[in-house]
């Protein structure tokens, strides 16, 4: 019976961790008592809320504060109930009634968010049942799609640099010709999916000289690092590139 001021003792054993916050607790109390979120019974819900609060142990001061602020709101509402108390139809003065309505609205809002969260969880579980192609080691997971850029990434990059400077670890100066690096990435990505290919297929229909040079450098570097094997069966013949089934293969298995 929802008029009962003492909540079920079983519910009291709930730990703080089971609630996301005061709204979650309030919603839980409403649900277990089958309370209409549009007609919050102030007296009942306040008593139940306070009883739960007493049984809770907080480790996080801020979280405790959030629960206490809600408690204060409820106690305020309860104190503004007009006498004589009417169990079925609680009356509040206009000011308090506004607070109650706002609280009810927030509760309904939270209920919606919670439902959506549940929907997303189900969706996530569903997605866990399908497999795409394994994420390649390349492009590196660090590579950000342009549309997902976010300033926190810049912030972190700078913080990392500053941190490095603080630790006074002078960086070694090394050449980093990015286009070769990029081309290496591209070639490896293609080789992952096709195993072997012809050198000529790496170039466009009308390759420009710098493109050929960069591609050649990329291949030499990849061969040096043991990622691929380049073979030319006849003089001036086509160069055949083959992915090497080396350690990077073994590493790829648990890279995702």
């Amino acid at each position: 019976m929802m008029g009962a001021a003492t909540p079920a003792t079983a519910a009291l054993t709930l730990r703080v961790g089971e609630f996301e916050g005061p709204l979650d607790l309030l919603l839980h109390l409403c649900r277990t008592s089958e309370i209409d979120l549009a007609h919050l019974p102030v007296r009942t819900i306040t008593d139940q809320y306070l009883a739960h609060l007493e049984a809770m142990e907080f480790q996080d001061l801020e979280m405790a504060g959030a629960y206490l602020v809600m408690a204060a709101t409820l106690v305020y509402l309860k104190s503004r109930l007009l006498v004589p108390p009417d169990e079925t139809e609680e009356q509040l003065d206009d000011e308090a009634q506004a607070v109650r309505e706002e609280l009810e609205e927030r509760l309904r809002e939270y209920a919606r968010v919670k439902a959506l969260g549940g929907w997303l969880a189900a969706r996530e579980a569903e997605q866990a049942r399908i497999w795409g192609r394994p994420a390649s080691e390349l492009p590196l997971p660090d590579d950000i799609p342009l549309e997902d850029l976010s300033v926190h990434l810049l912030e972190r990059a700078l913080a990392r640099l500053i941190d490095e400077q603080r630790r006074r670890r002078p960086r070694e100066v090394a050449p980093e010709p990015l286009s070769v690096l990029e081309r290496m990435t591209e070639i490896l990505a293609v080789l992952r999916d096709t195993w072997s290919l012809l050198f000529s297929s790496l170039l466009g229909a009308e390759p420009r000289r710098p493109e050929v040079v960069v591609t050649l450098l990329a291949i030499l570097e990849l061969a040096r690092l043991g990622h691929l094997r380049a073979q030319q069966t006849e003089l001036f013949g086509e160069i055949v590139l083959e992915r090497r089934n080396g350690k990077e293969d073994a590493g790829g298995a648990d890279a995702h």
């Binding site: 916050g21 607070v99 927030r106 968010v113 959506l116 997605q127």
Partner: protein
């Protein structure tokens, strides 16, 4: 000479992120995006008729080749461990708020949840499910958050319209009047833009 649909098949096979129609158009030198879409549709229909292990799905503004859910038991036995951890309930709820109200600021998220969301937002940023979309024209100029494409992919959504309709609108309470949020949602006023609230906790 390979057929265009077969080229599309090769392209879909070779990408681990959704492939946009525009990129298919570009790679195949097609006249328009519609042509690219038509090719994918043709391939998709073929896959569906054959009803084999693979399917083509539309997700996050692009197309992906994936295994059908029926094959999950065997793939799980293959023990390709999925390092991706499931999201916690607070994370999912925060994500729900952002998905519906984007772009939305932290104080607003806090107000709906009734608790501080700093840590959750941080981890969602870390997993690139949300991004900072700018700053809100409001006191303290808090950051605004929105979901990323990665979010759509992770939840198998074509776009944000794929989210279920919620009964009634999601209303973000005014932070100033929200009783619970008082004291914690209020942004510490910095002396200027990019004030102390931003630098906090980093």
């Amino acid at each position: 000479m390979p057929m265009p649909t077969d080229v599309v098949e090769a392209l879909l096979f070779a990408t681990d992120t959704p492939l946009e129609a525009e990129r298919i158009r570009e790679v195949l030198d097609l006249a328009g995006v519609d042509e690219a879409r038509a090719l994918v549709d043709e391939l998709r229909a073929r896959y569906d008729v054959e009803g084999r292990a693979l399917a083509i799905v539309e997700v996050g503004g692009g197309y992906r080749m994936v295994t059908r859910p029926d094959y999950a038991p065997w793939l799980m036995r293959l023990a390709r461990t999925r390092t991706r951890q499931r999201l916690s309930r607070p994370a999912l709820e925060t994500l729900a708020i952002i998905a519906y109200r984007q772009p939305v600021s932290r104080p607003e998220v806090d107000a709906v949840r009734g608790v501080n969301s700093d840590g959750v937002l941080e981890s969602l940023l870390e997993r690139r499910l949300i991004r900072i979309a700018g700053r809100k024209e409001a006191p303290g100029r808090p950051f605004l958050y929105e979901t990323t494409r990665e979010f759509l992919v992770a939840f198998g959504l074509r776009d944000l319209d794929d989210l279920p309709r919620v009964e009634g609108e999601l209303v973000i309470p005014e932070t100033a009047t929200a009783g619970v949020a008082d004291g914690q949602a209020q942004v510490e006023q910095g002396p200027g833009p990019g004030g102390p609230d931003v630098a906090a906790g980093r």
